[in-house]
Assembly symmetry: C2
Homo-oligomer: 242 residues x 2
C-alpha cells in the first residue's frame, strides 16, 4: 500500500502496463485466440523470454487483461451510480420518474453500454465467446461481480425506500433463489435476487446484440431502443416507472 518505492518498482509497473497496453492492441487486431507473447515482446522491442519476468505464462497475461476489463466496467458502473446519486440528492427535486433507485438503475445500465461501445474488444473478452483452451481462474470472480454489486446496492436502497414491486416467486424457483441469495449474502429477498440475475443477463444480451452486429439492418436508433429496453428491465426488477 505504499505509493512511492524504489525506481525498481516504478519501472516494473511501467513495463507491466506497457505489456498490457500492447496486448490490448493486438486483442483488438487479432482477437484473444491469437494473443501471442512473442508478438507483444517484438512490438515492445524486448525478447520473448523477458516477458516471463512479468507474466508467468500467456494465460496469466490473458487473466490480467480480463481482470482489468472487469475492473474497468465495474469502475464505470460505480461512477455512473455515484453521479446519479449525487444528481438526485442535490438536484432537480423529485424526478418525474419512479424514484432515485430507478434513476440509478437506468444510469448504470447506460454506463455499462457506453463502456462496451467504447471498449468493444475488452467487452468481447469478458462477455463474448470463451477463449478456446483458456479457463478463467478464481482471480476473476471478484472483479467480475463489481457491476453486480452496484446493482445490488441500488435494489437494497430501493427496498429500504418505497420497496420493490415484484410478483411472488413460482414454487419451483424458490429453493434456487433462496440458495443464490444465501450464497451472495446480499440480504435481498430471494425474488429480488432471481430477478436481478435474469435482468443482468438480459442487459448483456441487449448490448451484445448491438455490439456483435445482430442489430445491423434491424435496429437503427439504438440509443432510443436501448433506453426503452432498460426501462423494461427496471420494471422487471421491481422498479416501475411511476
Amino acid at each position: 500500500m505504499s505509493t512511492v518505492r524504489g525506481a525498481r518498482e516504478r519501472a516494473r509497473i511501467e513495463v507491466t502496463a506497457a505489456i498490457k497496453d500492447e496486448a490490448r492492441r493486438m486483442l483488438a487486431a487479432e482477437g484473444a485466440a491469437k494473443l501471442s507473447l512473442r508478438a507483444v515482446a517484438r512490438e515492445l522491442g524486448m525478447v520473448s523470454s523477458a516477458l516471463y519476468r512479468y507474466f508467468p505464462s500467456r494465460d496469466e497475461l490473458l487473466t490480467a487483461l480480463i481482470v482489468d476489463a472487469y475492473d474497468s466496467v465495474g469502475a464505470a458502473a460505480e461512477q455512473a451510480d455515484a453521479n446519479a446519486l449525487a444528481a438526485a440528492a442535490s438536484g432537480a427535486g423529485a424526478g418525474a420518474g419512479g424514484g432515485v433507485p430507478r434513476e440509478r438503475w437506468l444510469a448504470v445500465c447506460e454506463a455499462v453500454r457506453a463502456w462496451a461501445l467504447e471498449h468493444p474488444h475488452e467487452y468481447s473478452l469478458i462477455y463474448g465467446s470463451p477463449v478456446p483452451g483458456y479457463s478463467a481462474p478464481m482471480d476473476t470472480v471478484g472483479p467480475a461481480s463489481r457491476v453486480a454489486n452496484v446493482l445490488i446496492d441500488i435494489l437494497r436502497a430501493a427496498l429500504a425506500g418505497r420497496g420493490l414491486a415484484l410478483p411472488p416467486l413460482p414454487a419451483a424457483l424458490r429453493p434456487e433463489a433462496v440458495r443464490m441469495t444465501a450464497d451472495f449474502g446480499t440480504g435481498l429477498p430471494p425474488e429480488v435476487t432471481a430477478a436481478l440475475v435474469a435482468a443482468w443477463a438480459q442487459l448483456v444480451g441487449l448490448i451484445s446484440f448491438e455490439l456483435f452486429g445482430q442489430f445491423n439492418r434491424v435496429v437503427e436508433d439504438r440509443d432510443t431502443f436501448f433506453a426503452h429496453a432498460v426501462d423494461q428491465l427496471a420494471h422487471g426488477v421491481g422498479l416501475p416507472a411511476t
Copy 2:
C-alpha cells in the same frame, strides 16, 4: 431441386459435407479464429489446394458453417413450434396457462436453449463474439431470421386470437418501431415488433450467460431458472400467464 443427378454431383456433395464436418470439429477444438483450410485438408487426407474446388476461401467456408448453424437452430425452433401447436390442437384441452401462443413461445425458447447446449460452438459462431477479420456477407441474413420468423408467427397468431397485452410505446421509440415494422413487413403492430426484438436479444443473453460460463458459481438449477426467465419474457411480449 432435383434429388438424384450424376454420381459426380453426389460425390461433390459428400466431400463438401465431409469438409464442413471436419471444419466444425476444429471449430470446437480451436475456435473460429484459427480455422485453417490447411488443417482441414490434412485431417481429410487431402491437399490444401484441393479444398479450393469446394470453398474458394476460408471466409466462404466460415460463411457456410454460419449459414448451416442458423439453419440448424431455425429448424429446431420451427420443429418445436410445430410440436407445441400439434400438442395444443389434439391435446389436453385448454392448457392451464395463457393460451396456445404462450405455449408455443415457451416451447420455442426452450428449443433454442436446448439447441445451444447441444451445439455450443456453432452457437458461439453465430451469437458470440465476431470472428476477427471476417465480415458476414448477405447470404447469412435470410437463415439468420428463421427463428425470428417463428416468433413473429406466434405473435401474429396471438394477435388474431385473444390479442396481446402490451403497454403503449413511449413517443420517442414510436418512429423507430414503425420503421422496423415496415422493414420486416410482418404486419404486427409497432409495439409488438419492438418488444419482440428486445425479447429476442434478452433470450440470447440468458443463453449466452449460461453457455459462456457467466452463471458458474451463480446459477445452479439452470433449467428452472431459464424456464422462469422465459416466462417473464413471454410477459414482455404481451403473452401473460393467466
